[in-house]
């Protein structure tokens, strides 16, 4: 599955809110993201969430972004792992109570 999480946190903020800070007028911000001519031209592709592309593909042609389907479910069936394979199953063993509890507990701690 393609990661929509970039490595640095500034990127994540940008990915969601775009380059501009709160100063931009609140109207139709989504438009601003995709009308690439003005200020964000060369970076536009970079800031587009990867998932967005997948979603569009799934919907087929002819649906422009502003008319994207209103749907909260997002499942990429094409990229499902084969959970019948032992190795892949073992990779999430510790997410279950049958796994290592100390490892799971350490996930709950967040470093500030």
């Amino acid at each position: 599955v393609e990661r929509t999480i970039p490595k640095q946190n500034t990127n994540l903020m940008r990915l969601v809110y775009g380059e501009e800070s709160a100063s931009r007028s609140t109207n139709s911000v989504d438009e601003a993201h995709h009308s690439s001519e003005d200020e964000e031209s060369e970076d536009d592709e970079f800031f587009k969430p990867k998932g967005e592309g997948n979603k569009k593909l799934r919907e087929g042609l002819g649906s422009s972004h502003v008319n994207a389907e209103d749907c909260s479910k997002f499942t990429n069936h094409a990229n499902l792992k084969n959970w019948k394979e032992v190795e892949i199953v073992e990779s999430i063993r510790d997410r279950f109570i049958t796994g290592d509890w100390s490892k799971a507990a350490s996930r709950g701690q967040v470093l500030e």
Binding site: L12, N27, V66, D70, C71, W83, I97
Partner: protein, 376 residues
Amino acid sequence: MAKTTYMKLKGSQNLRLRLLLATLSATPVLIDDIRHDDTWPGLRPYEVSLLRLFEKICDDCVVEINETGTKLKYKPGIIMGGKNLVHDCGVGRSIGYFLEPLIVLGLFGKKPLSITLKGITNDSKDPSVDTFQSTTLSILKRFGVPSEGLKLTIRNRAPPPHGGGEVELKIPIVQNSLTAVTWIDEGMVKRIRGLTFTSRVSSQFEHTMRYAARGIFNRLLPDVHISTYHSKTGKSPGYGISLVAETTSGCFISADTAVSYGRGEESGEDKDEENNELMPPEEVGEQIASVLLGEIEQGGVVDSTHQGLLFLLCALCPQDVSKIRVGKLSPNGIETLRHIRDFLGVKFVIKPDPSTETVILKCVGCGLKNLSRKIS
């Protein structure tokens, strides 16, 4: 009368979220260019049905649609709630599409909401009613929504294209406001529950789906129980499965789908090409079990379908800090974050947690009070 200033928006995207946020924040909206380039321009019947539903629940709201349906003016009113309401959702989208905004809207009403919704209960596009029952409502409880009066009763399950299902939703009102959460421990999966349903096909399909799904979980967890439901009122053949994993910290992670023959022309949508032949039940069971494991692997406190709801509830909290953990940000989650900023002025601090490959979000709520209640 003062002149109304409208927030100008474009396109049909996120219509539910926009109407919901417009109503909660009392912001009139003007939406232009709704599928203006399409062969069938304008609002779809299910979107009009959604507007009617908002009208049913709110007093004094004004909906104006132009002749082609490409332009919509919405001036929100006061959320009233009320008992014994009935809404026919039609067959364009399933009941899940309507439930998603409704469960949040109802919380901020003057009176508790109790409404019967008719239509399609399970399909592949929207979360199934079973997912709402098992997962979605538990997320509301985290934010201090009282569990008395919060209930979804499923009377009949039914797949597309003709529906025939019915559910009753009860939503209590929040007395004052929601409660901010610190919700970052996703825990370990302790049990998996689920339900398969069939409508106008052999009930043997249920056993096949159940067996296939269990086969995937067998190596990981013994505590798996999947019940079955054979619909007697569904008007179309179809079958599906909804699964939910419950963790030691009380998180619920869900996955569901249903397969059936494509919807008719009524919705104006393109028919699903692959639906000439339905996916065999064995594959359906395996697939959804795999989707569930994929969601568990991501390691958020909710699955990707519920990210939007989670962000929204955090933003609607009083002016306290909420802190939550999700897996990969979903496209819908990202859109929700943007709309929350535009309507409520709440911006999240979003930080990746590299050690677990999850994302931690923090925000200070907008302090929305239940104003409808105060008026009385």
